[in-house]
């Protein structure tokens, strides 16, 4: 099953990306996907088929909190923001990720 169009977001990293996107300001679903796309300079596209389950999952874990509010064009939208637990989780996951990716980079460099 294809999750996204441009480049698949690596399984398991989507939650991290969503948390990061929300770390600056509360966003609605479309805003999150746009933010991730922008920040990755269009390298990553998040498919809705995985974005919304991810949002539900994070909400269930108590890392984010969704609230209905009115959007820029005066329409109702559900805005998500990080909870305290979400902020802690983001810090921890970022540390994990950098640790992991540098380790992977080291391996790949050696392989070169």
């Amino acid at each position: 099953m294809r999750r996204s169009t441009a480049t698949d977001v690596l399984h398991g990293t989507l939650d991290l990306l969503v948390l990061k996107a929300l770390s600056l300001a509360p966003l609605h679903g479309w805003g999150i996907s746009q933010r991730i796309q922008q920040l990755s300079r269009d390298a990553l596209t998040v498919g809705q088929g995985s974005l919304y389950p991810s949002l539900y999952r994070l909400e269930r874990k108590g890392l984010i909190k969704g609230e209905w509010g009115s959007s820029e064009n005066n329409r109702e939208a559900k805005y998500y923001q990080l909870t305290a637990a979400g902020k802690r989780a983001l810090a921890a996951e970022m540390a994990d990720w950098s640790h992991y990716s540098s380790a992977v980079n080291l391996v790949l460099a050696a392989d070169n």
Binding site: Y52, P53, K61, S71, R75
Partner: protein, 887 residues
């Protein structure tokens, strides 16, 4: 917490959650489209691109739903709804299944509650498993000897193995005022203070018997049972303090005790009086006042019965040397020795017969449940078969095999749960019916308590798994898909399913044969019992009885009173004979041990043999119809005393044959207890079939004392027992006012009582067997009907090709009988083994009796023919043209 809140919301506010999800996704899409338009894309192309990027709205929604983790429950709810809709569409089918299960589960639950009551739940007394009786029996076997207060004191002071020695008396009393004439007889227990504490059940109203109530000179007090309170006093709360006349003495009612206020080992009573210690001076002691007493106690923790027995015997041996014991023994008369006491544990002694019987019946009812399950499995399978198109459509629409199977299992479970719910009603009804039967007294305590309802729930789940697994497996089989391709109802039942169904029916038949054989054996037992020769002529034989107080009359006065009453009874019109006996005919006292012979050594089994005995006057044998086979009847005891001292004795035929197989017993000397006696005659045996006594083999008769304390007037007449008893009371009251009456015994009723266990067992087993037979017949009928409807085309073809309707009937009948014969054969083999558990209830017939088995087999074959003939005739009447076009 968040997780739980979201989960609950997703489950119970599903519509709102769904709505929010759609709004959120629509917003997303709209933003995307607006974004594309802003970048200069035409509106409709923007929409298409956005939808493309979204990647399938339905799929995205499904993924979110997965994330909610409520799917299992939603599926379950859906399945339940679906199943209920299905039941509503075919209510008849659902009703039949629920009815079958209610019958099976309900019956099983009812018997389980008996089983729980009998086996699992502890005795309903405080420390019930430590409760013991301390038995004191006379060596001469004189039933239970009155217990001397000094012996009880010796136990209390010296026993270390047991504690809380409690003496409880039992007697019959007259309630009410003789002046007003409104009197009635009632059973009463005499309790020491603290008895309520001993059994751990307190009065529900008023107070317990206190130590000061048992002091001499205290105001006499009585506790009454809840039943008596409701019946006689309309449950009035101001009953406390009201007067109650017991045996002419004014008592004050001090309390009401609950229904389960029963003393272990002691017969049930309606009222409870304070028991006063008897005066220590032997001269003043009145043995009759003591009535029947029981010494109860509790084993101390971690003490065994054997240890307690040793200790009690040692205490007894020391006590028997004491002056009090010597005085006690002399009161009893020199001829009676005292046996060392025996310690009996309540839990081992209470209702062992019922316990075994309940186990047998529980087994029977479990077989019925199995049959019901087999039947339901068959019905479900037929239904699954008729739904294969529906199943195929659902499979084609993406339902996994697992989902289909779990749907079928949900349906089974639902049926089982509804069936179990209805089964609780059936169980309540069954229990009610049983407590009103002859079993009632013993099973009164059984009720639908939580543990029993738990068992019922467990049965529901277990039966659902049992009968639901076959249709579930069927639904999960990929073969269903073929049904769609074939596109017709013509997909014929697979060989596997057909064989399964035939096996189920065969099993049902086999189990019914087993149950019917059991019932059949009991029928033959009852017939044999009714035909059996009791040895006595019991027609019109009634024993009216009384006791004399030991001190109020001299021996001569007592002897004169007995003769006077006897001659006045004999003078009544239509009285044929009146003879004296200690025990009412046809009863015998039971003694164990103490036999010795002058001319032959005593082997241990002989010395420990149980012996039935009675003290009677010489005319008794003729009066009750016992034949003298050798020697003569003993002479009457001329001595005017209350105690038997004659040395002439008579034995029954079996006694004579067992100990002197090759010579005459007459003239031989035997010792029973401490005295030696000479056998002067041999009389015919008395045998009460079914009576669980151990007195069947050896019987001894001694001459009744000239001035007996306890006497039964054995009357043969055509006067109804109530009138005879009334005459007797009037006569005896006139002749000897201090006499105390005992209940009249009708010989025929006493004999019938021996059959009571078999009869109530037969009724229950008969009902179970009948239900089983009915279920098996329904099952067979269903299977054959289904098979006929499956083979409509084939049968039509045969008819079109010239088969006679007789051929078709033979074809269908053959199929049904094939299953039946195999079932009957297996069942007969099972019955030979299974009916062994009935052995101790059978009389005049053996387990696995060929005649019974043959009758059952023939009966079942007949039923099978009827059950099969209905679909067979339908098949024979098929119009071949219609039949061929039908599919």
């Amino acid at each position: 917490m968040d997780a739980l809140r979201l989960w609950v919301r997703a489950l119970f506010a599903r519509r709102q959650v769904e709505d929010e999800m759609r709004r959120e996704m629509r917003h997303h899409l709209d933003m995307e489209i607006a974004d594309h338009v802003r970048r200069g894309m035409p509106e409709d192309e923007a929409r298409r691109t956005a939808l493309l990027a979204f990647g399938g709205v339905v799929r995205a929604e499904e993924s979110v739903r997965d994330e909610r983790r409520t799917r299992v429950i939603e599926n379950l709810i859906g399945d339940v709804r679906y199943a209920l809709r299905g039941f509503a569409r075919k209510p008849g089918y659902a009703l039949v299944v629920v009815g079958l299960l209610a019958l099976g589960i309900g019956g099983n639950t009812a018997l389980f509650s008996l089983l729980y009551h009998e086996l699992i739940s502890p005795l309903p007394f405080a420390d019930g498993n430590r409760m013991v009786e301390l038995q004191a029996t006379g060596a001469q076997g004189t039933i239970m000897l009155p217990l001397d207060e000094s012996l009880a004191d010796a136990w209390r002071q010296n026993a270390r193995a047991v504690e809380q020695v409690t003496i409880i008396g039992w007697s019959e009393v007259t309630l009410g005022d003789s002046a007003t004439g409104l009197t009635r007889r009632a059973a009463a227990n005499a309790l020491p203070s603290g008895a309520s504490h001993f059994i751990g059940i307190a009065p529900e109203l008023g107070r317990d018997i206190e130590p000061e109530d048992t002091l001499p000179g205290a105001q006499p007090v009585a506790l009454i049972t809840d039943a008596m309170w409701r019946r006689d006093y309309g449950a009035a709360r101001d009953v406390l303090g009201r007067p109650l006349i017991v045996d002419g003495v004014r008592h004050a009612i001090i309390g009401v005790v609950p229904v389960d206020y029963r003393m272990p080992f002691v017969d049930d009573a309606e009222l409870f009086l304070a028991r006063r210690p008897l005066p220590a001076s032997p001269a003043a002691t009145d043995l009759a006042l003591r009535g029947d007493v029981e010494a109860l106690a509790k084993l101390r923790p971690k003490v065994g019965v054997a240890q307690a027995n040793r200790e009690m015997s040692a205490i007894f041996a020391r006590w028997s040397e004491s002056p009090a014991a010597v005085a006690f023994a002399s009161q009893l008369g020199g001829g009676v020795g005292l046996d060392a006491p025996r310690v009996l544990r309540a839990i081992d002694e209470v209702r062992p017969v019922v316990r075994e019987m309940v186990l047998v019946l529980f087994g029977a009812v479990s077989l019925v449940l199995l049959i019901a399950c087999a039947n339901v499995a068959n019905l479900l399978l037929v239904r699954a078969w008729s739904r294969q198109r529906e199943l195929a459509v659902r499979a084609a629409m993406g339902a996994s095999r697992f989902r289909l199977a779990s749907q079928m299992l949900t349906e089974s479970l639902l049926l089982a749960v509804i069936g179990a719910g209805a089964g609780v009603g059936v169980a309540a009804f069954t229990l009610r019916a049983m407590t009103h039967s002859a079993l009632g007294q013993q099973v009164a305590g059984a009720r639908l308590e939580p543990a029993v309802l738990g068992w019922c729930g467990l049965l529901a789940v277990a039966t659902a798994m049992l009968f639901g697994s076959a249709p579930a497996r069927f639904a999960a089989e990929g073969r269903v898909i073929d049904a769609l391709k074939a596109g017709a109802r013509s997909a014929s039942a697979g060989a596997g399913a057909r064989r399964f169904r035939a096996t189920m029916v065969g099993l049902e038949i086999a189990l019914s044969v087993t149950l019917l054989s059991g019932a059949g054996l009991l029928v033959r037992t009852l017939v044999a019992m009714q035909r059996a020769d009791v040895g006595m002529d019991t027609r019109g034989l009634v024993s009216v009885q009384l006791n004399f107080p030991h001190t109020r009359l001299s021996d001569t006065a007592r002897a004169a009173a007995v003769r006077n009453i006897q001659s006045r009874l004999a003078a009544l019109p239509s009285v044929q004979s009146v003879s004296l006996s200690t025990l009412p005919a046809p009863k015998l006292g039971i003694g164990v041990g103490g036999l010795a012979f002058e001319d032959r050594p005593v082997n241990p089994s002989d010395s420990l043999a149980a012996v039935g005995f009675n003290d009677v006057e010489p005319a008794y044998f003729k009066g009750v119809g016992l034949r003298v086979l050798a020697g003569r009847v003993f002479a009457a005891d001329p001595r005017m005393t209350g105690i038997v001292k004659s040395d002439e004795i008579m034995v029954n035929e079996r006694f004579a044959r067992r100990f002197w197989p090759n010579s005459s017993a007459v003239g031989k000397r035997i010792r029973y207890g401490k005295t030696w006696s000479t056998i002067v005659g041999v009389v015919s045996d008395v045998e009460i079939p079914g009576a669980k006594d151990r007195v069947k083999d050896l019987q001894l008769y001694m001459p009744i004392a000239g001035a007996p304390y306890q006497v039964a007037f054995v009357v043969r007449s055509s006067i109804p027992v109530s009138r005879l008893d009334a005459y007797f009371h009037a006569i005896a009251h006139e002749v000897s006012p201090p006499a105390r009456f005992r209940e009249a015994v009708v010989a025929d009723e006493a004999v019938a009582k021996g059959h009571a266990v078999q009869r109530s067992m037969l009724i229950l087993l008969g009902v179970f067997a009948g239900v089983a037979l009915l279920l098996a017949a329904i099952g067979l009928h269903a299977v054959i009907s289904f098979s006929v409807s499956q083979r409509t085309r084939e049968i039509g073809m045969r008819l079109a090709l010239g088969a006679e309707s007789g051929d078709v009937i033979r074809l269908v009948l053959g199929q049904g009988l094939g299953i039946t014969i195999v079932g009957v054969a297996c069942g007969a083999m099972a019955a030979v083994a299974a009916t062994r558990v009935l052995r101790s209830y059978l009389y005049g017939v053996q387990p696995g009796d060929p005649l019974t088995l043959a009758a059952v087999a023939v009966g079942l074959l007949l039923i099978a023919v009827i059950a099969t003939l209905i679909p067979a005739l339908r098949a024979a009447r098929l119009d071949p043209v219609e039949a061929l076009r039908a599919e």
